[in-house]
């Protein structure tokens, strides 16, 4: 079965519908599926729920879908850096479900691994625990969190082979593997598609079983906080 598609729009063809739940990889603007997000904006799909650690900035990442009001709800751990997000949230146009970052990552991983729920200490005694099942194990209290299974996963990797084996680069890996795992269908955008056999099988970060469609493209890879030191300090 052919997994490689020519454009982001082609890679998403037939997969988008209003009201769907999409899991997206990325941390801040690092390792986000920027081309697939642009294609979703162009497709005009509405009432989307995104499980994504962040919501981009005003003109990049998920922020571009907030500008076009295509997003109904965000499941995120941190949503600063985005004025339009805050405006829509405060006016009640946008729903927001805060998840602790590790709980969100594990909800995705668990969902992809056939685990419908797991117990965690994270959030016990806080508003995150309200309404959730509490259970003691070995004298400690834990809360039940649910696995996430998304209608679609959109992720960004560095390299793929044509079978969908993926390699990520540095901290751009972040939420991409768990997001990829939790989708019923996973579409990946990469910087480079390499021939079968070009990736070391021992160095593959995510096996192609999780990947259904692949598209190669040029990435802007915007930096959110450019911090440097002077050469003489080095």
């Amino acid at each position: 079965m052919k997994k490689v598609y020519g454009t982001a729009a082609e890679a998403l063809d037939g997969l988008l519908h209003d009201g769907m739940l999409i899991a997206a990889g990325g941390f801040g603007l690092c390792g986000i599926p920027e081309l697939l997000l642009q294609a979703i904006r162009d497709a005009g799909t509405k009432d989307l729920t995104f499980a994504s650690n962040n919501a981009g900035v005003d003109d990049f990442g998920i922020g571009i879908l907030l500008q076009t009001k295509q997003v109904k709800k965000m499941i995120s751990s941190y949503v600063g850096e985005n004025a339009e997000f805050m405006r829509q949230y405060l006016s009640g146009e946008l729903e927001l479900e805060f998840n602790p970052q590790g709980t969100l990552a594990e909800r995705m991983r668990a969902g992809g691994c056939g685990i419908p729920g797991f117990y965690t200490k994270t959030g016990v005694g806080t508003i995150i625990a309200e309404g959730k099942e509490h259970k003691d194990f070995d004298g400690e209290t834990y809360i039940l969190e649910r696995g996430i299974v998304a209608d679609l996963s959109i992720v960004k990797a560095w390299k793929a082979d044509d079978t969908g084996n993926l390699v990520f680069r540095k901290t751009a890996r972040n939420f991409n593997p768990p997001a990829a795992m939790c989708g019923r269908i996973c579409v990946v955008e990469v910087e480079e598609i390499v021939p079968r056999g070009a990736l070391d099988p021992d160095s593959i970060h995510l096996p192609g079983i999780y990947v259904h469609r692949i598209v190669q493209g040029d990435h802007e890879k915007r930096i959110e906080q450019r911090t440097v030191r002077k050469k003489e300090e080095a």
Binding site: M86, P100, Q101, A105, K121, R173, Q225
Partner: protein
């Protein structure tokens, strides 16, 4: 003289032992890295990295290499990368020896509030709830009082909690407080700061 930001960071660095894996929060905690000296400390960045290096030299920034504060950083010879689920697996699993974090309020029972002020803009807890619930030791570094002079060391936190009974040590500009089962215990005073001054600036009970 109360400690300044750098002196608080320097004091916090004394809590770190050779061989520790440590997570540093944003703000004063970030400065702790400047004071670890010869100790072999590995810094974790919860977006998926162990062995976090300094900021890059101008022109060598890599958009694929950032810390949890979204700042560009560098890697070291010891660096490893992993995904967010693995990253919080090591946090939740107690593999990270210590986290040094800022705070808005801490209670005498070790409750921590550092993510939300009701009625004000809420940006989210990020990884703070996972860190305080999971790591071996939670060290808070913060000013002892607010800009308005109100104690940030309280009998009970007034703000929504990040974690309940999670703080082990509090380092403020005035002193170092150990969180014990009996309450807060002054273990050190900043140079020239008296016990009476600390008591006057603290709403919580000191034992």
């Amino acid at each position: 003289m109360p400690w300044d930001r750098n002196q608080m960071a320097e004091r916090a660095a004394k809590e770190l032992d050779d061989g520790m894996y440590v997570n540093l929060g944003i703000g004063i905690p970030t400065l702790v890295a400047n004071y670890v000296g010869d100790k072999d400390i590995t810094l974790q960045s919860e977006n998926g990295m162990l062995g976090m290096g300094p900021f890059p030299i101008e022109g060598e920034e890599d958009p694929d290499l950032i810390n949890a504060g979204k700042q560009t950083i560098t890697e070291l010879a010891r660096t490893s990368y992993f995904d967010s689920a693995a990253s919080f697996g090591m946090i939740r699993g107690g593999k990270i020896a210590a986290a040094i974090l800022g705070a808005m309020e801490v209670s005498e029972k070790g409750d921590l509030a550092n993510w939300m002020i009701p009625g004000k803009l809420v940006k989210g807890m990020g990884g703070a709830m996972d860190l305080v619930a999971g790591v071996g030791r939670v060290i808070v570094v913060m000013d002892h009082t607010s800009k308005h002079g109100e104690s940030k060391v309280l009998k009970e936190c007034t703000l929504p909690l990040t974690g309940k009974g999670v703080v082990d040590l509090i380092i403020t500009n005035l002193c170092v407080l150990d969180v014990t089962h009996n309450g807060l215990h002054i273990v050190e005073l900043a140079d020239g700061v008296t016990r009476e001054e600390v008591i006057a600036a603290t709403e919580a009970k000191l034992v």
